[in-house]
Point group: C2
Chain length 382, copies 2
Amino acid sequence: MCAYIIGAGSTRFGEHWELGIRNMISYASRKAIEHAGIKTENIDSAFVANCFGSLITGQSNVSAIAGDELGIQNTVQISGGDDAGSRAIMHAVNMVDSGKSKAAIVIGVEKTSDISSSQMLRMISHMTSSEEAASGATLASLYAMMTKKHMWLYGTTEEQMAMSSVKNHSNAMKNEISQFKISVTKEKVIASPIVADPLRVLNSAVASDGCSAVIICNEAMAKKSMEKIRIAGMGSGADYLAVASRENIAELNAVKTAVENALKSAGMKLRDIDFAEVHDVFSIAEIMCIEAMGFAKAGEGGKFIKEGHGNLDGKIPINPSGGLKGCGHPFAATGVRQAIEAFYQLTGNAGERQVKNAKCCIAQTLSGSGSSAAVNIFQRVD
Amino acid sequence: MCAYIIGAGSTRFGEHWELGIRNMISYASRKAIEHAGIKTENIDSAFVANCFGSLITGQSNVSAIAGDELGIQNTVQISGGDDAGSRAIMHAVNMVDSGKSKAAIVIGVEKTSDISSSQMLRMISHMTSSEEAASGATLASLYAMMTKKHMWLYGTTEEQMAMSSVKNHSNAMKNEISQFKISVTKEKVIASPIVADPLRVLNSAVASDGCSAVIICNEAMAKKSMEKIRIAGMGSGADYLAVASRENIAELNAVKTAVENALKSAGMKLRDIDFAEVHDVFSIAEIMCIEAMGFAKAGEGGKFIKEGHGNLDGKIPINPSGGLKGCGHPFAATGVRQAIEAFYQLTGNAGERQVKNAKCCIAQTLSGSGSSAAVNIFQRVD
C-alpha cells in the first residue's frame, strides 16, 4: 500500500452558528492544501464524508458543494455511520494506490447545531437498528445497556469510566481544535446528570459542528513534501446492526475484526503501535474499544484507564487529541480528525500533547452502536 | 484497469409498498450472487449507494443494513447525488483493481414511495444549490429553464422531446424490471399535463423504489465465471452546483468532462461505443446528454432522437433499457441498473431489446441539475 498524508486542516470543533457546510469545507480544505504546500489544481479527486447534511441543513449533495467550492472534477460522498470519515480515507487510499488519483483531498464535515436535542436523538437512531429505534431505544440507552452488562460481567465502575473523561478533557485542553477545553475531575463526572443510567453527561460525547481535511497522495508527490506520514494499513469490521442480536453486548466485535484486518494489511503486530485514537462516543465505548483492540483483556479496559496506561505518558496513550469526548463529535469529521492527530503526532508537531517518540498510530471509529468499525494505521516516515 | 462484472440482480422498479430497504437489498443481492454462481462468503466488500434512506425511512446507515443482511465485514455507503450508483461501481473497481478486494458487491437502493409528492419535491432540491432551492426552484423548474434556453438557442421542439419518451417507454416494455411498461405516442406526451413549462408529466422520470446489485471481481475469479463483462473505463466530471452560475445552461459540462475522462481511461474513442445508457431524468436531459457525450453536435440532440438514431435499431441506441423514464428512477439504484443493462446486452442476453452485436456500452448518470456526472464504460469479453 503506497499512499501518504502530506497536509491537514481543520475548523475548530464546536457550535458554529455563523458557518454553514460550505464555509466549513472551504476553511478546512484551504488550510489542508496550504499546509501541504500544493495547489488545488494538483488535487484530482475529493472524498467527502457527511452523514446528516440532508436531514439537518437540506443539503444531501455535500460532495457537489465541495466540488463546486474547490473546482475538483472527481468527487464522491461517503455516508452511513460515524465511521464515514475513516472510510473516506480508505477509499481515497484505494484510488491513489490503484494509480487513478495522484492526490486526493479527504473532507469530513458535519453541521449538527441547527436542530433541537430531541430531533438529534431521533436522527442518531437512524444509524442504529430500525427495530430497536422503533421500540424507543436511543443510542445512549443502547450504550447504557452495554455498560450495565460490562459492569455485571467484569465489575467495571463509574470511577473507571470517569477517568476516561478526565483523561480526554485533559488532553483536549492541549488541542487547538477541540470543543471542550475544560478540566474535569472524577468527582465532577460522577456528579453530572444521568443521560441513560449509568451513563452521565460527562460520560457522553456531544454532536458538534466541524470540518477536517487531509491531503492523500502518491509516493512521487509525497517525496516533494517536507512533512508526511504513510498510511500503513486499513481494516474493516462489522457486527449485527441490532445490539439485541449480539451474543455478548459487552464486546465490540466489529472493532476487533477491523483491528485484526488493519494490522494484517500493515504486516504489523499490536506491539508496533505507539498510541491510539479510539471512538469514545461514551466512556464505555472507550473501554470496550481498548479491549476489542487488544490493549487490555476483555473486562480490563476500565482498569487500564484507571491505572493511567492510556494517559499521554502511559503505556499506550489513548486519544491524545482528547477523543470524541474532548474534541466534540461532528460524526463524519471524526475519522478525518483522527488522521490529523496522527499527522501532528507522527511528524513531532503535537506540542504539549506530543506522545514521545511516536512512530505508529492506530485510529479507529465505529458506526452507531457498533454495527461497523473502520481502522487506519499511520506510520512515521523517517 | 482490471475488474469484471460476473453477476447481476435487481428488484422490479416501482412502488413496493410491501418491501423495505432491507427486503429489497436482500432480494437483489441474493439474485446477483446466485447469478454469479458464487457464495456470499466469496464476497469481501460491499459498496452500497443510497441517497435518501435517512430522510424517507429513518435509516441513514444503509450500508450497515446490507452488511448485517449479507454478513460482509467491509461495507461503505456512497451517497450525494443520483450518480451515487455509478460512483459505487467506480470505487468498487478501485478496490478490486488495487488488490484489496477479490470480489465486491455493489448495491444501489432507494425507497421513495413512503413520502408525499410535496415532501419529494423538497427532498430532491437537497441535491441542488441551497440558494436556488431556497428561492423556490425545484429540480423540474431548473430543467424547465434549461429546456427554454435549449429551445431558444437551437430550436429544440416539444415533438423532439416527446420522441425521447416514446422511445424509452417502447424499450421499457421489453425490460422485465421496468416500472412503466406503457406504450405512449408523441401526441399523448404533448397532451400530458405540464410539470414545469415546457416539461410535461410524460417528459419526466418518476422517483421509484428499487434495488439493483452487481458482483465486481478480479481477473482470477472472473476466469471461473461463464458470463462476464469488463469495466474498461471510468470518468468523472463536475460543474457549478447552481445552474445560475453556468455560462450556458443548455450544456451539461459535467457530462462532457466525465465522458472525455472515461474514454481516455479506457483508451477508446466515441466510435468504439455501440450503445449508451444516459440519465434521462427529463426528456431535455436525454437530449443534452446525447450532445454532451458527443453523439450529436450541440443543439442537434433533439434531431438525433427524432430521426431515430437513438432507437434500438438506430446508429447509437440510447437507453435500450428504457432509461430513467421507462424504468423509473430510484436515485442511487439507477447507476447500478445501467450496469445490469450493460451486462445483459454485452453477454447477448437482452432478449427483445438486444442491441445487435453490442461490444461496448457507455453508461452515464448525473446528480441533481448536473453538478456532477459519472461515466462507466463496459466491454464484452470474447
